[in-house]
Symmetry: C2
Subunit: 433 residues, 2 copies
């Protein structure tokens, strides 16, 4: 229990809570029992070991004025600084400034899928390191700064390693990223280029995670902010910005349906949180919305539990090309099940073949080259329409959270249409003329 | 001469000039002799074979109102639609909507290089297919639409192939892209994923180019818009948006110095054109600015000519890792020499080792992972400061035109800092604790 003790709210923080300025964030609150503790680098409740979330004071905001303030803000996530655990002057600090990615009106894809109510792709491949991870790392970085940490760290299998390395470089932090030692060369190169420490662990991702928890409890980890461990409550809030941007880009209205990839499930729960906040703040009109979760069949613990009518998630050993979603024991799985059921959504999964078909379909119809996680959401959208769970007459937003350049292998069997000599004769012979 | 005859202004166009709405564009004008012809898919003057450029009517614009109109526009290049050869409703058409990429205030890099006057990196890796090519293809696409073309085509060695494939997919055009048959697998995969025709030519890039010129003159090429051949005058204007964005992001002022990569030299000349337009329109205050060109030593025909004091450029056979800049016979080389000398700039080149060092320096200091072309501009900036040609006390903007994920090989020798067992003991043994 040593590790858990260190990371609960009773742990000492580098900077005293009184001196921490994280804007509207006032405390950490347990999602299970509601117990409150001061803002600090902790993630588990000291009472019940439930996950801690950020509590805010939004009481001074007036909807019209808040909307104008957001719209006058920068073209990145900091336009929503009044709704995030960051200081008011966050946009002036060195940060990768992710977000405000494109909401693509996907009319060609809509025709292919038979969606008549408006189909959009929220394309997070436009972020600085080309995945949604830049959003969450940006929040964790500001928390690390507030708590006086000087090293940014994480366990990762790819996207997060690059996002942490890049953010630390920009912000002048040391970085030390832990990955399984046998990752694909491309991911290693991208994570290494930012010049931080990149440590391979002789073991699998679970071993890497367990080691990071040990390191937090050790003097060697002093001054280290692990973005997805001791800074997790702040980190997670970055996913809310996806909800904010989608609604603002739709003209300050809620979509009817969202299709969201499920890895740990954190993004799914935070998008729900973000949508509810916009309603509470009066920035969008209240109306029902449905959240759909998307997994790969080779790592579908939440989908399996959803279909079986279970409230708990039975862990799986992942075996899928959608590696960025390959979390066999998703921490927020039960919350995803609850939200999907409460909103009238669902959780569905698709085979690796359907993932590849989804990548190809999105590229061919909209010119968006998604990573495997985007193939999952597109494939699941198609399947949900086919089985009648997603209503094609309603406004639907599908998330693409990463970039096809990072998972080239998935579509590498498609190459040249033809090879010809540089002559019109050869062109005609190949049936191209 | 058959090919040139077909592509000069006397060629018939698919759509009559009278029905073409390309906004403020009024005609094509020869850069050499000033001869004017109607807007059409032609690129060489029928009088002198000089390059044709877009002529505009900006006479109705008032600076204050134009600036407000731009600032109220979308977060992409179409905010500058009043200054581009596109219809006024361009933002409503299916298009990848590139641009409005980040201007990164590069304070860490500035410290390393000793720049005190403000250093910025214009990071075009944030475009939809992660290179500046999306800007130029977006213009060519609108011209293709106006001229009634149904196929979008190009010769390419990488970035352009992906940009054309993606743009055509979004816009509902057929695409047919020609590349040397032995390109790297990653570039082939990315170009193929959008589902267009991807034809390998058994030959080098020059063979590909020559074949495309033949195809334009053949009935088989009827209805084909070659973005970098018969649509080149429109295509080239996309690079002006880099100048517009840099100035607007600096608060509507000209930078003192820009460092720009040189491939064909088109981007360099169009950035100069864009800066001059902003002055003429009263959007920025007039003041001197210096334009610096950057090449790799292994393909440095313009740099060599600059240093030798020549007005003409002697072709080279490229041999450099900076493949996106590897044009041995740059069409706009003489114009680059003229502009560099007129503005008080220079043209410089760096070795492949310095290119790699430039990529690493930018990644380590600012968290921006550039392709080799970005390594060239960063390396040249350092060299220009060392040899006293670039004044570190002035505001300087360095361009990164592409994405490191597309040229991973350049930095692939850098990998893990260490490999350890998942234990604190092993962590300490490795000297990390």
């Amino acid at each position: 229990m040593a590790v858990q003790t260190v990371t609960t709210a009773s742990a000492s923080t580098t900077t005293s809570a009184a001196s921490v300025d994280l804007g509207p964030a006032t405390a950490l609150s347990c999602r299970e029992c509601g117990h409150r503790v001061p803002l600090g680098p902790v993630f588990a409740c000291e009472e019940c070991f439930g996950p801690l979330e950020i509590a805010y004071d939004f009481s001074s905001y007036e909807a019209g004025e808040l909307r104008r303030r957001i719209e006058a803000g920068p073209s990145n996530i900091w336009r929503y600084a009044p709704l995030l655990p960051v200081p008011a002057d966050v946009a002036d600090k060195p940060n990768l400034n992710p977000g405000w990615t494109k909401l693509v009106k996907a009319d060609n894809l809509a025709r292919e899928l038979g969606v008549t109510g408006g189909l959009y792709v929220k394309d997070d491949s436009g972020n600085p390191t080309h995945s949604f991870k830049d959003r969450v790392v940006a929040q964790a970085l500001e928390a690390a700064r507030a708590f006086g940490f000087t090293t940014l760290s994480c366990s990762s299998t790819g996207n997060l390693a690059g996002a942490v390395g890049a953010a630390a470089a920009r912000a002048g932090f040391r970085s030390c990223v832990f990955i399984p030692h046998d990752l694909e060369q491309g991911k290693v190169v991208m994570a290494a280029v930012y010049g931080g420490e990149l440590v391979g662990i002789d073991g699998n991702y679970d071993d890497v995670n367990r080691f990071c928890s040990e390191l937090i409890g050790d003097p060697a980890g002093e001054g280290w902010g692990f973005v997805n461990v001791n800074l997790r409550p702040y980190y997670g809030e970055g996913s809310k910005t996806l909800a904010y941007e989608i609604c603002e880009q739709l003209g300050w209205r809620l979509p009817d349906q969202l299709v969201i990839p499920i890895a740990s499930g954190s993004q799914f729960t935070k998008i729900d949180k973000g949508l509810k906040e916009l309603v509470q703040l009066g920035l969008v009109e209240d109306k029902p919305y449905k959240l759909f979760g998307a997994q790969a069949a080779g790592c579908s613990p939440v989908s399996v539990a959803y279909k079986a009518g279970h409230d708990v998630v039975r862990p799986q050993k992942p075996d899928t090309i959608a590696k960025s979603l390959a979390i066999g024991n998703p921490a927020d799985g039960p919350y995803v099940l609850d939200i999907a059921r409460r909103t009238g959504g669902a959780v569905e999964d698709v085979t690796d073949e359907e993932v590849v078909a989804g990548i190809r379909l999105l590229a061919r119809t909209e010119g968006v080259f998604a990573e495997t996680a985007g193939g999952v959401t597109v494939g699941v959208t198609r399947k949900l329409i086919e089985n009648g769970l997603l209503d094609p007459s309603l406004t639907t937003v599908v998330l693409n959270t990463g970039d096809g350049l990072k998972t080239l292998d998935a579509v590498a069997d498609q190459g040249l249409t033809a090879t010809i000599r540089p002559s019109l004769e050869s062109f005609r012979e190949a049936g191209l003329g």
